[in-house]
C-alpha cells in the first residue's frame, strides 16, 4: 500500500512554483511582451520619439525590397533542412559503424563526441580558416588540384555550402551520441533472429534497426531543425555575415543585424515576434503530433 500525502494548505504548491515562475516571467514573458509591444511602433533608439504605426512593421517586412524577408525566410528553411539532413545522415552512418564490434571502438566514440565541445563560434572560425579564398588550406587545395575557384565571398552557392558544412559538422556529435544510444538499446535477439532468417545487413538495418530508432530520429529531427533555425547564428556571423549579397542572411542573423547593428527596433521586434510564433509552432508539433505518432 503506497501512502499518499496531501498538502492541506492550498497556497503551498503555488509558493513552491513561484521562484520558477518569477524566472520565467522576468526572462521570458516580460521581454516577449516588450518585443510584441515595440513591434507596433517606430522609435528612435534612445526612446525620445515614438510613433504608433500599427501593423506597418509587419507589412513592410514582406513588401519592402530592402528587408527581403521572404528571401531570408526561404534561405533559413533551406539551411535548416540541409543542416538537419546532412548532420543526421552522417551521424547515423558513423553511429552504425562504431556500434560494430571493432577494435578501438571506444576511442572512435570519444573522438566523435569531441567536436561538440567546440564552441559554435570557434567552429565557424575553423571552417573559415580552411576555406578562406586567399589563405585557406582547402581553398588552395581545391584551386591547385581540382581547378575549382573557391570564392565564397562572391559565390552565393559556395557560401551556402560552407555555412551548411560548418553547422552540420558541429551538430554531428550531438546526433551521434543519441543515435549510438538508440542503436545500443535495439535488442540483439531481433537482429540475430533476422540474421538466422537470412536477412542481410542492409535489410536488417532498414527493417529492424531503423524503425526501432524512429523515436530517436524524430526527436533529433526537431532538435536539428531548431538548431538550424535558431542556434547557427555564430556560424553565419563568423563565416559570411549574411553575404554575399543577402544570400546567407538567415532569420536569426537578420533580426540581430537589424536590431542591434542597424538600430531598427520596430522592424527587428516584428521579426522576433514572427520567430517566436515559429518556435511555439515547432514545440506544439513536437508535443502534439510527433511524440504521439512515433512507434515506440
Amino acid at each position: 500500500m503506497v501512502q499518499q500525502y496531501e498538502f492541506k494548505a492550498k497556497w503551498l504548491p503555488y509558493l513552491l512554483v513561484l521562484p520558477q515562475m518569477v524566472i520565467v516571467f522576468v526572462f521570458f514573458f516580460w521581454p516577449s511582451l516588450q518585443g510584441l509591444w515595440q513591434s507596433f511602433f517606430l522609435q528612435d533608439p534612445f526612446g525620445g520619439q515614438v510613433i504608433f504605426v500599427g501593423l506597418e512593421n509587419y507589412v513592410r517586412l514582406f513588401t519592402d525590397p530592402a528587408y527581403s524577408y521572404g528571401e531570408s525566410f526561404g534561405v533559413s528553411v533551406a539551411f535548416a533542412v540541409c543542416v538537419a539532413g546532412l548532420s543526421m545522415i552522417l551521424a547515423l552512418f558513423l553511429a552504425t559503424q562504431t556500434n560494430k564490434k571493432i577494435r578501438f571502438a571506444s576511442f572512435y566514440k570519444t573522438m566523435m563526441i569531441w567536436p561538440y565541445a567546440v564552441a559554435t563560434m570557434v567552429a565557424g572560425v575553423l571552417w573559415l580558416f580552411m576555406f578562406n579564398p586567399n589563405v585557406g588550406v582547402v581553398a588552395w587545395f581545391l584551386k591547385n588540384r581540382f581547378g575549382i575557384e573557391w570564392q565564397h565571398l562572391l559565390n552565393s552557392g559556395q557560401a551556402f555550402l560552407l555555412v551548411t558544412l560548418a553547422a552540420s559538422w558541429k551538430q554531428i556529435s550531438y546526433n551521434f551520441v543519441f543515435f549510438l544510444a538508440g542503436l545500443q538499446s535495439v535488442p540483439v535477439d531481433f537482429i540475430e533472429a533476422a540474421a538466422i532468417d537470412g536477412a542481410g545487413p542492409m535489410r536488417r538495418f532498414w527493417k529492424i534497426i531503423f524503425p526501432l530508432l524512429s523515436p530517436t530520429t524524430f526527436y533529433l529531427l526537431v532538435m536539428n531543425l531548431v538548431y538550424g533555425f535558431f542556434e547557427t547564428f555564430p556560424i553565419i556571423h563568423q563565416v559570411t555575415a549574411g553575404g554575399p549579397g543577402k544570400s546567407t542572411s538567415i532569420l536569426v542573423y537578420k533580426v540581430w543585424r537589424d536590431g542591434v547593428i542597424n538600430l531598427d527596433l520596430g522592424g527587428s521586434s516584428a521579426q522576433s515576434v514572427i520567430l517566436m510564433i515559429m518556435v511555439i509552432g515547432l514545440t506544439v508539433v513536437q508535443f502534439r503530433f510527433i511524440e504521439r505518432r512515433v512507434h515506440y
Binding site: 517606430l42 522609435q43 528612435d44 533608439p45 534612445f46 526612446g47 525620445g48 520619439q49 510613433i51 519592402d64 525590397p65 530592402a66 578562406n132 586567399n134 589563405v135 570564392q151 565571398l153 562572391l154 559565390n155 552565393s156 555575415a241 553575404g243 554575399p244 549579397g245 543577402k246 543585424r257 537589424d258 542591434v260 547593428i261 542597424n262 538600430l263 531598427d264
Partner: protein, 435 residues
C-alpha cells in the same frame, strides 16, 4: 565618552569634506589592444594632473556594442558621462533629442576655454553643425589612403617612389603588377567609405544632397552619377581577370595585401601600424588617386573613426570635469602622444606640428600622407563629411549590392540605382521619425 565620539565624528565629517573623493566621470569606449592601453594611459595622465576629477575608462566591446550599451544605459537612466560613438552613429546621436549635450554648449556652460580654430577643420567639420558648432569631440580619426608594395613595384619594373597619382595610371599599374606574376593587382576595404564616400569628396562631388545631409534630414543620395558608374564599371571589368580581387566587407581584404597577393590596396591610415607588423616587405603610403578630367579634383578626403559624445542630465560638477578632460585631450602633447601611439590622426594643427618637430614622420611617413590629404584644400559642402541617419543600413545595402555586382547578378548602373533607391527609403524613415 559620548561627547568624544560626537567630536571625533564631526572631525571625520570635516576631514571627509576637505579631502572629498574626486568626482568620478565614466568614459565608455570601444578601443582594444594597444589603442585601449593608450586610452587608459591618457586617462591616468589626466587623473594624475589634478585631484578634482577621476576619469574611469571602461571598454564596452565593439563600436556597435558600445553604442548599444550607451542607449540601454540612457534608457535605464544610468548613462555614462562620455561615450565613444563611431562616425556612422553621428546622425543618430544628433537626432537623439534630450539625450546628448553638444560639446560647444558644454564648453560655454562650464566656461571652459575653448577655441574651435585650433582643430583641423576637415576633422571637426564631420562632427559639427553646418554653422560650425562642435557637437562631439573628435577622438580617433582616420582617413583612407592607398598602400602599395614597393618590392612588388621593383619586381614589375616600376619606380617604387612614384606611386600612381590618377586612376587611369593606377589601373595601368595594377595590370602591370598582375602581369609581373602577382595573384592580382589591387584590392580595397570599406567599399562605401572609400570608393563611394571618400571618392565623392576627393572629387568634390556630392554624395547626397543638402551638403551630404548637413543641412537637413530631407537629404537624398545622389552618387549614381556617370563618374561613379565609370569608376565601379572599371573595377568590375578588372575583377573579371582578377586584376581586382574582392576580399570581403569592412577591413577583411587586408590579408590580400599583407600576404603579398595584391600590390596595391585601399585601407584606413588607422591600419598603418597593423601593416607594419604583418607585411614582410617594404611598403609605401600614397594619396588616393583621382580622375584628372574632373574639375577641382583632388579636393580633400573625409574622415572615419569615432568621436566622444556627452550625455545629458549630469551634474554641473561632472560637466566641469568632462570639459576639463576634453581640454586636456586637445592639448598638443596628449594629441601627439595619441597620434604617435595609435596611428590615428591628431585633431589639432599644433599636435601635427609638434609631431613633425619631433621627427616622427621621418621614420613613419605614412600618417603624414594622410594628414596632408585631409588638409589638401579647405573642405567644401561635398567634403565636410557625411551626415545620414540609418547610415549603417545604407552602408550595408551598398555592401550587399556591390557583392551582387561583382557576382554578375546585377549591372553596375542598376546596382548604383538600387543603392540610391533603397538607401533613400532608409533616409525617409529616419526623417519621418525625427521630424
Amino acid at each position: 565618552m559620548k561627547r568624544f565620539l560626537l567630536a571625533s565624528l564631526a572631525l571625520v565629517m570635516i576631514a571627509g569634506s576637505a579631502f572629498a573623493a574626486p568626482i568620478t566621470i565614466d568614459f565608455w569606449h570601444a578601443m582594444t589592444g594597444k589603442n585601449g592601453d593608450t586610452v587608459q594611459a591618457i586617462c591616468d595622465k589626466f587623473n594624475a594632473s589634478q585631484s578634482d576629477y577621476k576619469v574611469v575608462p571602461v571598454y564596452k566591446g565593439s563600436y556597435s556594442d558600445t553604442m548599444n550599451a550607451g542607449i540601454a544605459a540612457f534608457r535605464a537612466k544610468s548613462a555614462p558621462a562620455i561615450i565613444q560613438v563611431y562616425e556612422v552613429g553621428t546622425a543618430t546621436m544628433m537626432a537623439a533629442k534630450g539625450a546628448v549635450k553638444p560639446v560647444y554648449q558644454l564648453m560655454k556652460e562650464t566656461r571652459q576655454k575653448f577655441d574651435p580654430k585650433i582643430y583641423i577643420p576637415t576633422i571637426t567639420s564631420y562632427y559639427s553643425t553646418s554653422k560650425g558648432e562642435m557637437l562631439s569631440l573628435p577622438f580617433n580619426s582616420s582617413t583612407s589612403v592607398m598602400y602599395y608594395n614597393k618590392d612588388a613595384f621593383r619586381k614589375a619594373g616600376l619606380d617604387p617612389e612614384k606611386p600612381p597619382v590618377t586612376w587611369p595610371e593606377f589601373f595601368e599599374v595594377a595590370k602591370k603588377l598582375k602581369a609581373s606574376g602577382m595573384e592580382g593587382g589591387f584590392s580595397t576595404n570599406w567599399i562605401s567609405w572609400i570608393q563611394l564616400e571618400n571618392f565623392s569628396a576627393w572629387h568634390n562631388q556630392p554624395f547626397g544632397t543638402k551638403s551630404n545631409g548637413f543641412d537637413g534630414l530631407d537629404t537624398e543620395l545622389v552618387f549614381n552619377t556617370p563618374l561613379v558608374q565609370r569608376h565601379l564599371e572599371t573595377i568590375y571589368q578588372l575583377s573579371l581577370d582578377k586584376t581586382f580581387i574582392y576580399g570581403g566587407r569592412e577591413n577583411k581584404a587586408n590579408p590580400l595585401f599583407s600576404s603579398g597577393q595584391v600590390g596595391m590596396h585601399f585601407e584606413s591610415i588607422g591600419g598603418y601600424a597593423n601593416f607594419k607588423n604583418t607585411c614582410k616587405f617594404d611598403f609605401g603610403v600614397a594619396r588616393l588617386p583621382y580622375y584628372p578630367d574632373v574639375a577641382g579634383a583632388p579636393q580633400n578626403s573625409i574622415i572615419g573613426g569615432a568621436s566622444l559624445w556627452v550625455f545629458n542630465g549630469k551634474s554641473k560638477d561632472e560637466y566641469k570635469g568632462v570639459a576639463s578632460f576634453f581640454s586636456f585631450l586637445s592639448t598638443p602633447e596628449i594629441q601627439a602622444f595619441w597620434h604617435q601611439n595609435t596611428g590615428y590622426l591628431p585633431i589639432t594643427t599644433a599636435a601635427y606640428e609638434l609631431t613633425k618637430s619631433q621627427g616622427f614622420y621621418e621614420k613613419n611617413p605614412g600618417p603624414e600622407v594622410a594628414i596632408k590629404q585631409l588638409l589638401n584644400k579647405a573642405p567644401t559642402k561635398n567634403s565636410m563629411g557625411i551626415r545620414f541617419g540609418n547610415f549603417n543600413i545604407i552602408r550595408e545595402i551598398e555592401d550587399q549590392t556591390w557583392e551582387d555586382i561583382l557576382a554578375g547578378k546585377i549591372s553596375v548602373k542598376a546596382g548604383l540605382d538600387r543603392m540610391v533607391r533603397e538607401g533613400n527609403a532608409k533616409l525617409r524613415d529616419f526623417e519621418r521619425l525625427n521630424k
